[in-house]
Amino acid sequence: MNWRKTSALALIFLFGAAILPIQSRLDTAARAAHFRKTAFDLNLRERIGQAGFLAALSGFRSPLAAILWIQAHTAWENTEWGRMAGIFDTVTTLQPRSILYWDMAAWHMAWNAAVAAMQNEKQPSEALRIRAQREYFRLGRDFLERGIINNPDRYQLRVQLGIVLRDKFEDHCAAADAFLKAAALPDAPSYCARFAGYEMAKCPGREREAYEHLRRLYLQGDSQRLPSLINLLRDMEKRLDIPQAERIDSSDQSDKT
């Protein structure tokens, strides 16, 4: 080895050492911006095999996730719900920032798989069918909750969680909280706040809070004054015995004057 090659090697080491802080800073910035959140652990290695793991490590996480998603679609066509759940788990591990994958995985589990479990003709016991259905509801909810942990800055999965809690678990208090949290996030559509109010109204002990929330929305103007909101607000005014002067019709009049 001549002196040039030795110097080149030494310079590489020196450069490697000098660049370490830059690399670490860039890595921290990337993680803060929600990049590189995939957990490359032995569990993932077992699920996608050695070649898949190598591909995922080499920057081909998204194509790999797309290929697995096609497999999940085939499993869906064959109504292999268990296999689908496993593939969804892998896809969401590979692409934890993809709202679409979390959302679709939860939808397939909480809606399609749950309905299929309830209509399963091979299972004569209704109790077991209901149990299987609840298990799929739980799986759907689990996908959404994990998706929210990975995407705390986006409203979409919180809305979906609210819908699952409302329609599948009939837990109106938790659904209201999910919609409220969604409404507080950037770009959240106006319906999130309304949905939070509707659910809060059904949550025992939070009627007053719901009334105040809905009234605040009503006072925001025409964009929030939808028939469902107005009807619910009128109903709550009666239930909570709100004085006539504070009711929305009178506030309408005071707006006009």
Binding site: A8, G16, Q23, A33, F60, S62, Q95, S98
Partner: protein
């Protein structure tokens, strides 16, 4: 000034030579992949279609970019020696570093043109698919309120184009350029192109593990001394290629902050400059 002219002439020549080697035929495969993918995905929802189209296209762009970078760079030195063109060039007042820089610039041009063509093809397919989905959406919502139609159109357009795709594509170019510079460095002391290609491919995989090794080393986990030394060696010797993998998360909808994009591009330029300087250093003493 004269040196710049020489370098540019070598770069132009390298680019023309690579084009004559029908390198762009790979675009046919890329086109088949993108258009075929788009046609095959018709049974999926439009969000799934767009996501998969982006996944496959950007993944393919990264693969093709890396392959072109490694193969084109690994071949030029042995080929120039075999053809004896290197002797004709270096017999003239052309410094060795100028020759290397010209060659590297020619390869960078090829990479830039390839990535531009692939991007144009990908964006065209995406645009056509968007047009089809928009027409279908409008037809389905005929008679609906203007607000409903606007919301549905917005949903389609948001799922299709994302301004962050552009920095993602730029970073793919810098990753390929970095691989080209690294391969050039290897080829300055390698004795055959096969050796260079194999080494560069191995470095490609090791480079993607560099950040993991660095984290392991710097975290100071209480493990055996030899495994810490190995992690330190990997961290210091190899480039961090994982830093250039932004597209996976961009496709998933993550926005790239300007500082992160600039930092990544800066890191790429730094790596390229260092690997080129080292190549020039080793090549200046090489017996031809």
């Amino acid at each position: 000034m004269k040196l710049l002219g020489v370098t540019l002439a070598i770069a132009r020549n390298t680019f023309t030579e690579l084009v004559r080697q029908k390198v762009f035929y790979f675009l046919l495969i890329f086109a088949l992949l993108v258009i075929g993918n788009s046609a095959f995905m018709a049974k999926f929802s439009f969000q799934e279609q767009f996501q998969m189209l982006k996944d496959i296209s950007l993944g393919a762009m990264s693969v093709f970019g890396s392959i072109i970078a490694i193969l084109a760079t690994a071949n030029f030195l042995p080929k120039d020696m075999e053809d004896r063109t290197i002797y004709t060039i270096l017999a003239k007042p052309v410094p060795r570093f100028s020759y290397l820089l010209g060659k590297l610039c020619g390869i960078f041009s090829l990479l830039a043109v390839s990535i531009l063509l692939m991007s144009a093809l990908f964006l065209a397919v995406l645009w056509i698919r968007e047009g089809t989905v928009l027409a279908e959406t409008r037809a389905q919502l005929q008679g609906g309120s203007a607000e409903e139609i606007a919301a549905a159109v917005k949903e389609v357009t948001t799922a299709t184009f994302n301004i962050n795709l552009i920095p993602g594509i730029v970073v793919i170019f810098f990753k390929s350029a970095l691989l080209a510079a690294l391969t050039l460095f290897l080829s300055t002391f390698a004795t055959s192109s096969i050796f260079t290609i194999l080494m560069a491919t191995a470095l490609y995989f090791i480079g993607h593990l560099q950040s993991t090794a660095r984290e392991y080393w710097l975290a100071g986990v209480d493990v055996q001394w030899w495994s810490r030394i190995l992690a330190a060696l990997v961290s210091l010797l190899f480039p961090d290629l994982q830093a250039f993998n932004l597209t996976d998360d961009i496709i998933a909808g993550t926005a790239v902050p300007m500082a992160l994009f600039a930092g990544t591009v800066g890191l790429g330029i730094l790596y390229i400059s260092v690997y080129f300087s080292l190549s020039a250093l080793v090549f200046s003493g090489r017996e031809l």
